[in-house]
């Protein structure tokens, strides 16, 4: 704790709601996050846990209406994003913070060449003229392992993995301080996944970028992240460094996630999926959102909503079971 690292991201009490005609979706509830320079933070959870919404909030890219975003504080590299004007924001997006999207198939504009799509942000943020921007766009393509001649080609001429490389090139073109990667490999073949992850890790280190890695894949987290925040139903329910969360898991949900992983060492072991489904985000339970699926749930869990509490070190979790001092969970205990 001696050296205070530079904070590149700080979010305090972020709430995002989607107000629809008949119902309100509470997508993100009271989330606080922070990240230091050069760090990789894993944001883990099931589909619909609010990971992507959280990420989009950082760029203030939530569609409004119907989205309503509120927070106490939202700062990137000391800049107050929360109160920024739209034109100021447009200078931040793509240059200070950029984002890699989940589905490379739909994330590139089909009517522009990939070179144009990379050069566009360079022209905008780096004050380059058309030729310089194009040159640098070609450099970026090479950097992500695509021959520079292909800059004049259109997205439909690339495979999925290549498209994701292009998207990475777009995101990294202006050397952002913070890179948000939203399930960057989910839509790709397993073999391509490894390549892309490797590439991202390498580039991130080269440029000393901080990264938020959004994923539901704990393997990816183990491989790339320094710290982990686990989300469930729009809340962070456990947070800590990789060792704390992986080896000293506190929250039953996190435990459930580990138990749902196939065991490579023991191929006969049965999968132990978490039973049930995530609660309806338009109608969240009063108490702990995980209680209906939790094997350790008590009556208190139905009634009171647990707060994120310190468990020593950087480790935090939101679980009422720990009010009982003797409580601990066991790796591999059946959950379901």
């Amino acid at each position: 704790m001696a050296e205070q690292k530079e904070k590149v991201l700080e979010i305090k009490n972020l709430n995002v709601k989607f107000v629809l005609e008949e119902e309100t979706v509470e997508a993100v509830n009271d989330i606080s996050l922070h990240m230091e320079k050069g760090e990789t933070l894993g944001l883990v959870g099931e589909t619909g846990a609010g990971k992507t919404t959280t990420a989009l909030s950082i760029l203030r890219l939530i569609d409004s209406p119907p989205g309503v975003m509120e927070c106490e504080k939202l700062e990137v590299c000391g800049k107050d994003i929360k109160n920024m004007s739209i034109s100021e924001l447009e200078h931040i997006r793509g240059s200070v913070v950029s984002m890699i999207f989940q589905d490379p198939m739909t994330s590139l504009n089909p009517v522009f060449t990939v070179g144009q799509q990379i050069a566009e942000s360079l022209e905008r943020h780096e004050n380059l003229n058309k030729n310089e921007a194009w040159k640098k766009a070609e450099d970026m393509l090479e950097l992500v392992g695509i021959p520079r001649e292909r800059a004049i080609e259109y997205p439909h001429q690339f495979s999925g993995g290549m498209k994701q490389r292009v998207i990475i090139a777009i995101a990294l073109a202006c050397s952002p301080q913070v890179l948000i990667a939203d399930e960057p490999t989910t839509a790709l073949d397993v073999t391509i996944q490894a390549q892309i992850l490797h590439l991202m890790k390498e580039l991130k280190e080269k440029k000393n970028t901080s990264m938020i890695m959004i994923t539901h894949d704990l393997g990816i987290v183990a491989e790339t992240c320094d710290r982990v925040a686990v989300m469930y139903a729009g809340r962070i329910i456990e947070e800590g460094n990789l060792d704390e969360v992986f080896n000293h898991t506190l929250h039953p949900y996190t435990e459930g996630l580990f138990n749902s992983l196939p065991n490579i060492k023991n191929r006969r072991a049965k999968l132990q999926p978490i039973h049930g489904l995530m609660p309806d985000p338009t109608n969240l339970p009063k108490g702990c959102a995980f209680a209906p699926r939790c094997n350790y749930a008590t009556e208190a869990c139905q009634e009171r909503r647990p707060q994120l509490t310190d468990f020593g070190g950087t480790h935090k979790a939101a679980c009422l079971a720990y009010e009982n001092k003797d409580f601990h969970i066991e790796r591999g205990k059946k959950n379901g």
Partner: protein, 317 residues
């Protein structure tokens, strides 16, 4: 790409043969022929038969059709029964007025509808959007010739701003072009809006926004280029439609174009002129629609790739 164009040009041939056949035979079903209508007062039955023989009208329709098509192959579309002038020349004489009016109308329609459609789409569900859509619906429901009459009442008879008919001065074109243009606007605005709405949901726009591209450019460049195909399709079909048959507007404004020519020659049972004009119109329309198809390739690289690899099968139906 060349192969595609050539293929499309060849595909036009059976359509032209079919159309000429259809028109020729329908015209033949008509009671009374040109000779009855143009015969001088007091002509005897023998006189009429002589004229018929001279025009070849005493031969069976199939033979006349084959002869006619034989002439077409040599670029000879025949001679008008009534005015004795060459059909092709007569048609070409009227065509410029129709083309002028068509392009002016399309210009009116595009300049007004595309911005309005984009605006509506970006404001989907708001009051402005609803008002635009109601106006478009009203425009769609107005008979064109009636709108023309209303414009004449307002701008010509009451305000004396524009002439009510003919094609003498530059300002003559304003009212007919507004009439046709407004009629086209309704459809084009609706198409632009719905096409933009489709595109505005696409994820690549989020990518563009995340790159820091200002919203205006996201909408006007990134989104619009992707929304263009349906818009171009409608503009092309509308252009073809106006070129082929703004008969009513031409009538209302006494516009000396092809539409009037066809109606007038129909009334005179001038089969060669009617058939020739309709065939010419069909050819013109096919060419316009082909140009629209080629324009797709300019707008969308994926379609261009299809044309080039020639795997792109023409969808029929």
């Amino acid at each position: 790409m060349h192969r595609y164009i050539i293929k499309r040009l060849f595909l036009m041939i059976p359509v032209i043969i079919g159309v000429s056949f259809l028109v020729f035979f329908i015209m033949d079903m008509a009671p009374g022929d040109a000779v009855d209508l143009m015969a001088p007062e007091g002509a005897t039955a023998e006189d009429l038969d002589a004229i018929r023989h001279e025009l070849g009208l005493d031969q069976p329709v199939v033979i006349r059709y084959v002869k006619y098509m034989g002439g077409m192959l040599h670029g000879d579309m025949g001679v008008s029964y009534v005015s004795k002038t060459d059909v092709f020349d007569t048609y070409m004489e009227k065509l410029p007025a129709t083309i002028k009016l068509s392009f002016a109308s399309i210009l009116v329609s595009v300049l007004l509808s595309v911005p309005l459609g984009i605006y509506s789409a970006t404001k989907q569900g708001t009051l402005q959007d609803n008002i635009s859509m109601v106006l478009a619906m009203i425009g769609l429901s107005m008979p064109n010739f009636w709108l023309g009459l209303l414009l004449i009442i307002a701008f010509s008879l009451k305000l004396h701003m524009f002439p009510s008919g003919g094609d003498q001065t530059l300002s003559s074109i304003v009212l007919p072009a507004l009439t046709i243009g407004t009629g086209l606007m309704a459809t084009l605005t609706r198409t632009t809006r719905s096409s933009m709405l489709d595109v505005l949901k696409q994820e690549y726009l989020r990518t563009a926004r995340a790159k820091g591209i200002p919203e205006k450019i996201v909408v006007m460049s990134h989104a619009l280029r992707n929304a263009l195909i349906p818009i171009i399709t409608i503009i092309g079909t509308q252009l073809a439609g106006v070129l082929g048959g703004s008969v009513l507007t031409e009538t209302v404004f006494a516009w000396p174009g092809v539409g009037r020519l066809i109606v007038d020659s129909l009334n005179m049972r001038d089969t060669p002129l009617v058939t020739g004009s309709i065939i010419m119109t069909t050819i013109l329309l096919s060419i316009v629609l082909l140009l629209v198809d080629l324009l797709y390739a300019v707008v969308d690289p994926r379609i261009k790739a299809q044309y080039i690899t020639k795997r792109g099968k023409k969808k029929h139906g």
